[in-house]
């Protein structure tokens, strides 16, 4: 028997789905090892996680609430990675979007909700987008790698936010806590159901996924993004404005991450603080990869990742196993889906060794 790899020119949707599902399942199975190491019983832990994530209306609401920013940061990564623009800065873009929401929405403008909410969203989108357009321009002008720049900017942005919420933006009524002045009522995103934290940001995420899906499939920009992502030189040769396309991708990608920040401020917290995001930007990368960079898949992958976090929190409270188990699942699913992409590229064939004449 020997093993042969045959390149595939096309991977079917079914195969992609199988790979993503398998990645999630294998990641969940693998964390049985740390669960046992921490003195837990894997089956009980899984059951508690499932209960914690979906077991009640409250649990479901918490999961969808957690999925809301992940859909948006996931889409941010998906659209950028499609064009091979490595935006690892969604975390910073999220914070800048949230900052813009607070700047516009905390009393500077007085508008009815029907105008105020769109204004806050547009501000957050543009601010987040700008945070990605700048590194993209730097890449085009100076040839400096956007991966490192966007990564480092995340740290700069968080410090900048800390400075503001301890300084000029600090809420004088916050009893000394480093948090910004609150949004006015008109700028806040309404809740979807009474007594549950789910808010209209979720609908924003779903609409964004739908728009991106249409854009990728039906528009010239979608075609250009795919062409640039597949082969930059060929795209340029075919007359596609590569640099302009990349800038549009950067604006959309950073903008989506910015919207995630708007949702957290205007839908959940009501104010800005430097602990607004527990790494939504980084988890978005995992979401996008799990989704195979598909906009619709991103929604499903975001719910999966959110369920892992919410479920693990609840499991951790019941068993005492550290909730960092969720981060382990997420990291492992990224690596598993990466390994899975190998099978999307190659067909593995076992064959009998031919007897050589």
């Amino acid at each position: 028997m020997s093993l042969r790899l045959e390149p595939r020119d096309h991977a079917s949707v079914g195969l992609k789905l199988t790979v993503s599902l398998a990645a999630g399942v294998i990641a969940l199975l693998l964390v049985a090892i740390p669960v046992v190491a921490a003195g837990g019983t894997p089956l009980e832990a899984y059951w508690l996680m499932l209960q914690g994530a979906f077991g009640s209306m409250f649990a479901l609401s918490e999961t969808l609430n957690r999925a809301t920013p992940l859909i948006l940061t996931g889409l941010a990564a998906a659209v950028a990675f499609r064009a091979k623009l490595w935006n690892i800065g969604a975390e910073g873009q999220l914070y800048i979007g949230a900052l813009a929401a607070v700047c516009v929405g905390s009393g500077l403008l007085q508008l009815p909700p029907a105008l105020m909410i769109p204004t806050v969203m547009i501000a957050g989108f543009l601010a987040g987008g700008l945070m990605m357009v700048i590194p993209t321009i730097i890449k085009q002008r100076f040839g400096a790698d956007e991966v490192v720049i966007t990564l480092l900017l995340n740290f700069v942005v968080i410090l900048f936010i800390q400075m503001l919420v301890e300084g000029v933006l600090k809420d004088p009524l916050s009893m000394g806590w480093p948090q910004s002045v609150p949004l006015i009522v008109e700028a806040k995103l309404p809740k979807l159901l009474p007594r549950l934290r789910m808010h209209w940001g979720l609908i924003t995420g779903l609409v964004a996924a739908l728009i991106l899906w249409l854009m990728v499939r039906k528009t010239v920009l979608g075609f250009e993004i795919r062409a640039v992502g597949e082969n930059k030189a060929a795209a340029r040769f075919a007359g596609i404005p590569v640099d302009a396309t990349m800038l549009k991708v950067a604006l959309i990608s950073g903008g989506l991450a910015g919207l995630a920040g708007v949702g957290e401020v205007a839908g959940v917290k009501g104010y800005l603080s430097a602990d607004l995001s527990p790494g939504f930007g980084y988890s978005g990368i995992v979401v996008a990869m799990l989704a195979g960079l598909s906009p619709v898949g991103t929604v499903i992958a975001a719910v999966f990742v959110a369920a892992v976090f919410v479920g693990a929190d609840s499991m951790s409270r019941a068993t005492g196993i550290s909730s960092y188990i969720a981060d382990l699942v997420v990291a492992l699913s990224l690596l598993c889906v990466l390994v899975g992409s190998f099978f999307l590229r190659f067909r593995v064939k076992f064959e009998r060794r031919q007897v050589e004449a």
Binding site: P34, A37, A38, W86, I88, I138, F142, G143, A144, D145, V147, V148, I149, L151, L152, L153, N154, F155, V156, L159, F160, Q162, M163, E166, G167, Y282, I285, V286, M289, G320, I321, S322, Y324, I325, D327, L328, V330, A331, L332, L334, L335, L338, V339, S341, F342
Partner: protein, 315 residues
């Protein structure tokens, strides 16, 4: 101006600069070895965390300081092996794999720490490395306290600079590693294994990165904190471009960075009332970005960086 001379004239400042540079020297050397062989290792940030945690925990459990250093290096090597398997053997995206390794190494470290020490409220301490007293040198006026009162890991980092430079430029192995990152076909034509060389380089490079992390918990501090690596790994990835992938320049870059960081900390103490502290804390990251932009056009990236290799491949 007086402030400037006060700071530059204190031996304390130079000692701090070298201390801050030490983890970066390990990190840049590690990244340099990986990239010279053609593999970008964005796992560095997580490998720093893993080295910091594993080394510290080993010492805490009674392995002794050098035992801890060894454990840290092994932890780094292990994550390096995983990165090498994914990127070199399977030829998968180096970007995605690196981010995945960072997430995995970080979460494994945090989970292990929490599981091993469930009930601690303040981080437990170990007896960390103490500054060496080198007879003759450490007692010199000014020069002694400025340069020669460092912990053993700092001297180890300097030894590695020389060692890596010697291996890269003076041995057939070094020639092969440089070639495998520039023109892997030529290496294969020599009958050498492209995959073997790359895997080896990533494993060794990752072990060095982990030592950078170990320095944090075993020399700079004596405990492990969440978030203590704080972007140092990413800074190394920027510094390696700044250093044009050369060990000597890597040392220089790390030292310049250390001096700048030590300077901003002291400046903060002097004028911290006027300018918010966060401005100073931002400077190291901004400096790395500026350094990257300045050298980007002239940067002579290893030509096969990011390119997977399959045996018998032709161009």
């Amino acid at each position: 101006m007086d402030v400037l001379f006060d700071i530059l004239g204190s031996a304390n400042f130079w000692a701090a600069a070298i201390r801050i540079a030490t983890p970066l020297i390990f990190g840049v050397l590690g990244a340099l070895i990986c990239e010279r062989a053609g593999v970008l290792n964005l796992g560095i940030e997580g490998i720093f965390v893993a080295g910091a945690m594993a080394g510290w925990l080993a010492v805490y459990l009674g392995a002794g300081l050098w035992g801890g250093v060894l454990v840290a290096a092994l932890a780094g090597a292990l994550f390096g092996l995983l990165h090498a398997f994914l990127t070199v053997i399977l030829g998968l995206s180096q970007h995605v794999s690196g981010i995945g390794i960072t997430l995995l190494a970080t979460s494994v470290s945090y989970f292990t720490y929490r599981t091993a020490l469930p009930d601690v409220t303040s981080p437990p301490r170990i007896a960390a490395f103490q500054p060496l007293n080198i007879p003759g040198l450490s007692d010199l006026p000014f020069i002694g306290p400025a340069l020669f009162q460092q912990t053993p890991l700092t001297f180890l980092a300097l030894v590695f600079v020389v060692l890596v430079a010697l291996v890269l430029y003076r041995t057939p192995l070094g020639l092969a590693i440089r070639a495998v990152g520039d023109n892997p076909a030529s290496v294969e034509a020599q009958g050498l294994s492209v995959v073997g060389l790359r895997v080896g380089a990533v494993v060794v490079g990752s072990a060095l990165m982990a030592l950078g992390g170990a320095f944090l918990t075993m020399s700079a501090f004596d405990a492990f904190f969440f978030g203590m690596v704080n972007g140092r790994g990413w800074i190394c990835i920027a510094l390696v471009v700044f250093a044009s992938w050369q060990p000597g320049k890597a040392l220089l870059g790390a030292l310049l960075f250390g001096a700048f960081d030590a300077f901003q900390i002291r400046l903060q103490a002097q004028i911290g009332q006027v300018v918010p502290g966060q401005v100073f804390l931002m400077l190291p990251y901004l400096l790395s970005i500026v350094a990257l932009i300045l050298v980007a056009r002239r940067a002579d990236y290893p030509r096969a960086l990011l390119q997977p290799w399959t045996k018998g491949q032709r161009h």
